[in-house]
């Protein structure tokens, strides 16, 4: 009987974090530590003619200036682990010969203080030869476009073209009663964290070993990639991840600065720390999302969608970073969403431009796929004169036909209609459809937007990943140890970045081992201690894949606990129960031993062990999911638009979803709220615009508008529970879910509010200025 899984529990780290006692990279110090800053390219594309660091090096307190020319000859390029068949876009810790985007690191300056390092940076003189550059994927595809990799003899700017098809798309379009075609533009956004990135490296010359603290979601991957780049054996590198102030996928990458700071530590013989400053974070941390998509849907008059085809262009920026064009690929293969569309075809082109490389951000390519599909379904509904919800219901894969293969993946389980219906029921309980009419009659512009998503979570089956080209596994490994005193230490390769995974894992462990969660310490972020994790902390896999691994390891330990306790109590282990650290004979709670008694026997008093039982009380177990798990949900946004100023405000927001077994509802709700905030950021606020040549038109929070609590709705949330058939424990992931369906719902709501003006919104973010351009100026509404 689960006692802890499913419980609302505050996170164990809250007190530490809220009282400012969390230790992040910026809080770490080592004796003799010095500080690094990076000099970055001011040009989108330029050749480095020469770099003169002599004046900087002559300044007191300056320890070193490294440039591309100082990198070891045999230093590897920064690796990409997601190889889907693409041209190589090598880039290094520091730019060699040329920089391909504004913000690319060109030199690292090391000095005794951050102040001195920045002073010295101003004295490093780079002779640049600016080259033709391109800041937009459409322009990059033009025949006469400047070539980002002309020096590598690329004939054009296309790094990869991915195509996939199922069914007979052309016939379906020929036979369709209705066809709609739309073009969408989705802007650049990024996983902007409260804590920027940071690295601290210490090289022990005596044994030639490197210790690297880094603000990363991929503790083992970072170690292995660093080892590959530096040509060191993996076990000579220890990577540690202290507290992380938000990752959001941006820290799922292996960055040039990690290599450069390690080299700077070797060059200076000192521990070297770099903390990304807020301004450079806008250019130096991977961007995400930017795509333009053309999509066509074919349907019968009764609303059955018979085919979909999509043509996607991803603006990858200047290089394929750690995850290659993975997010663009995921957009492409999610083009059927939750619908039973038998015929589908996609083409996705990964285009390089002179901009910051594109990478991971909560949701990967799924928010884009959801946006284009859900908005087009709305359009189809309008075309057919059908209700938007009815059209979705008609095309949902019905529960009895799950699991079902879509373009690439197999959707596992659930009841989509029930989820959407409950969301609509809430909408009506809260009176919105009626009130919308009343308010419209009063001249107000109130709109309702609906979307439905599914999420690719619990990544993922290792073999499937490898087959697809991913050079990583998708499993997770957990180690559970009962200490001599009966307390438990749980080791996981997953990183705690504010998402609360250590809490979820300890709740799972508590149930399966029979202890109180407070007795479980969770160790994360240290390659010398924690077991290997296949993929890192991302892809909504922590609770599902990590949880299943913890479950297995906990059960294995419990079996041994029961054998030892059975011996002590002279009872059959099968008759025992463990709860809250007590092991007792079922029905006779007085006949009991404690976890401490068992722990002491296991380590200190072999005399109490059953004959033939090995000492020690720990287990290490892996879990590799046989399939992904697919949570899903409905977003309904209710907004009001001020047509005089174009401002949008939320009147309500309904979120009904199913993520299988919920380990801790507080954490799940927090995850969804945060992710919806980022989805609303995409819909209304956040953008990283560049000019035609690739000069950034942003640089601070003055341009990059993150919504705050004041702009966000209060979510009305309900959970449904369809346990995943593929994951022991039934968990599905949830971390990214909120980002996926929210942009479509919000934009649909705005469009609905502006129905009297007949506007179509195919581009985000939808700013007040853009809204006013659509509705036009009018007489001011008297208050």
């Amino acid at each position: 009987m689960p006692a802890w899984v499913g419980r609302r529990m505050p996170r164990r780290e809250d007190a530490e974090l809220l009282t400012g006692r969390g230790r992040f990279i910026g809080d770490l110090g080592r004796s003799g530590m010095v500080h690094a800053v990076f000099l970055r390219s001011p040009y989108p594309h330029a050749r480095i003619v020469s770099i003169d660091a002599s004046r900087a090096l002559a300044m007191p307190g300056v320890r070193a200036v490294l440039t591309g020319a100082d990198l070891p000859e045999d230093l590897g390029a920064q690796p990409n682990t997601h190889l889907f068949g693409e041209r190589e876009t090598p880039y290094f810790a520091l730019a060699r010969e040329r920089a391909r985007y504004a913000g690319e690191p060109v030199a690292v300056i090391v000095a005794d203080s951050q102040y001195l390092a920045e002073d010295a940076r101003d004295e490093v003189i780079v002779d640049w030869e600016p080259l033709p550059s391109v800041g937009d994927a459409d322009r990059a595809l033009a025949d006469d476009a400047p070539l980002v990799y002309g020096d590598r003899d690329w004939p054009d700017n296309v790094a990869a073209t991915f195509e996939q098809e199922m069914g007979d798309v052309d016939s379906a379009f020929d036979e369709a009663d209705v066809v709609v075609t739309e073009r969408y533009r989705i802007q650049r956004q990024f996983g902007c964290s409260l804590e920027t990135r940071g690295v601290l490296a210490e090289w022990d010359e005596n044994v030639d070993e490197l210790t690297l603290w880094t603000s990363s979601q991929i503790v083992h991957i970072a170690r292995d990639l660093l080892a590959a780049v530096l040509g060191l054996p993996e076990h000579r590198i220890r990577v540690l991840v202290p507290r992380i102030g938000g990752g959001f996928g941006a820290k799922f990458h292996f960055y040039p600065e990690e290599t450069a700071v390690a080299l700077a530590a070797r060059a200076t013989g000192r521990p070297v720390r770099w903390v990304e400053d807020r301004m450079e974070s806008f250019l130096a941390t991977v961007h995400a999302r930017e795509q333009r998509v053309e999509i066509s849907m074919a349907a019968r008059e009764d609303g059955t969608i018979t085919a979909v085809k999509g043509d996607l262009v991803g603006d990858m920026g200047a290089a394929l970073h750690t995850v290659g064009y993975g997010p663009l690929w995921l957009t492409a293969v999610m083009i059927t969403n939750v619908y039973e569309i038998p015929n589908a075809r996609v083409r996705a082109r990964a285009v390089v431009t002179n901009k910051t490389p594109l990478g991971s951000f909560r949701g990967w390519g799924q928010p884009q796929a959801n946006f284009v599909v859900e908005r087009t379904v709305d359009r189809l509904a309008r075309e057919l004169g059908m209700d938007r919800a009815d059209l979705r219901r008609r095309n949902f894969i019905p529960p009895e036909r799950l699991p079902r293969k879509s373009l690439h993946h197999t959707l596992d389980s659930g009841d989509y209609p029930r989820c959407l219906d409950r969301a609509l029921e809430l909408l009506d309980e809260r009176g919105w459809r009626e009130r919308q009419h009343e308010l419209r009659d009063e001249g107000r512009h109130v709109g309702i937007g609906i979307s439905f998503y599914t999420e690719n979570s619990a990544l993922g089956p290792s073999r499937m990943l490898n087959q697809g080209g991913v050079q990583q596994g998708g499993y997770d490994i957990a180690r559970v140890r009962v200490e001599p005193g009966g307390e438990v230490t749980l080791y996981t390769g997953l990183c705690e970045m504010g998402q609360g995974v250590t809490n979820a894992l300890s709740q799972v462990c508590a149930d399966n081992l029979g202890v109180h969660p407070e007795k479980i310490k969770v160790v994360t972020g240290d390659t010398s201690q924690v077991p290997y994790t296949g993929y890192g902390t991302g892809a909504s896999r922590g609770a599902a894949v990590g949880g299943a691994a913890v479950m297995r390891a906990s059960r294995k330990v419990r079996e041994k606990v029961m054998r030892i306790a059975g011996h002590m109590l002279e009872a059959n282990p099968d008759d025992l129960e463990a709860e809250d650290g007590m092991i007792f004979v079922r029905g006779t709670p007085t006949a009991a031993v404690t976890m401490g008694d068992v722990g002491r026997a296991a380590y200190l008093r072999a005399i109490e062990l059953p004959e033939g039982e090995d000492p020690g009380l720990e287990a290490i177990e892996a879990f590799d999911p046989p399939q992904f798990a697919w949570p899903y949900g409905a977003n309904i946004a209710v907004v009001e638009v001020d047509v005089d100023t174009g401002e949008v405000s939320f009147l309500d927001y309904i979120y009904v979803h199913d993520c299988g077994t919920i380990v801790n509802p507080m954490i799940v709700e927090g995850q969804i709220m945060g992710a919806v905030a980022q989805g609303i950021g995409a819909a209304l606020f956040e953008s990283l615009p560049y000019d035609e040549e690739g000069q950034p038109l942003f640089g601070t929070f003055m341009e990059y508008v993150l919504p705050t609590a004041a702009e966000l709705p209060r979510l009305v949330m309900e959970h449904q529970h369809t346990p995943s058939p593929n994951i022991p424990g039934g968990m599905k992931g949830v971390g990214e879910a909120g980002t996926i369906g929210s942009p479509a719902a919000v934009v649909a709501a705005i469009e609905d509010a502006l129905a009297p003006y007949g506007v179509r919104i195919n581009e985000t973010p939808v700013t007040p200025s853009a809204i006013l351009a659509m509705v036009g100026e009018r007489e001011v509404t008297p208050a």
Binding site: Y115, E118, L651, F685, F698, E703, V716, T767, S769
Partner: protein, 327 residues
Amino acid sequence: MYPGRFEYQAPTTLEEALATLDRYGDEGKVLAGGQSLLPLMKLRFASPRALVDINRVAGLDRLAEEDGELRIGALVRHRDCERSELLGGRWGVLADAAPQISDPIVRNLGTVAGSLAHADPQGDWGSALLAADARVVAASAGGRREIPLDELLLGPFTTALEPNEIITEVRVPDPGARAAGTYLKLERRVGDFATVAVAVHVSFADGTVSRAGIALTAVGPRNLRATDAEAALAGAPLDDEAIREAARLAAGAAEPRDDVRGSADYKRNVVRVFVERGLRMAARPEERGDVPRAAAAPPGRPEPSEEFAGEETAEDVMKEIREKEDQ
């Protein structure tokens, strides 16, 4: 984002501060709240040789009404204005502007005088105080002078102050017994600099407008005064037609530019909308509620659902857990 090297002086009297500033010539900078100067230094856009910190100078933090005039000392913070009883009513334009500046952290430190000296065309005080016809008292080692705001603000980050002058006080004239106004600000999100903002400050006598002040934020090289609109309103009743005409004239006075916040046309339209809304509020001050922040939610919206877990505090949950444990 660390500043370059600089000297730091912290005088405790005005005389000392003025003498110190005088000594550095144009290499010294007054440090008040630091909310504009320090970011510039961290970005290395500004690298003064010395900072003359006036925060310890006694007597500069007075916010008071004297002979009908409002006096705002150099160390009066945005937060002081936000909380002061003095600023409501006749000086509604100032009362409404104060809480719309940035966030509480900035408001706790930033000063009114510092905002004027900084002369950011996106600054809120510049317009609110222009509409209220304010002037500043500028002191230097050589003496003191009064500068009307219109003459102080010259262009983006440019004022008529000499490098050795300190604004010791801002003076806002008596608007008369019947006056009303407001400050309407369009921000992309709370705490943002203005996309557009409009200050409206109207004095009435005998049922007509005796003086109208209308100033515009973020739509020109400095805080702009909509003089044609002001002139058109003076001497006439503030009726619908007058309001619409003034709004049209004010929109014509704006010199907006396209930027990330919106197109020039968009901003010009918001000027028109806000001047109209602002004047309507000034015409019927008794009807006004709170400052209308961005698109207020409709009244009587349904209460948030009870299922919402965010209502629970960590203590509630821990208590619940302990109770369960005790059972």
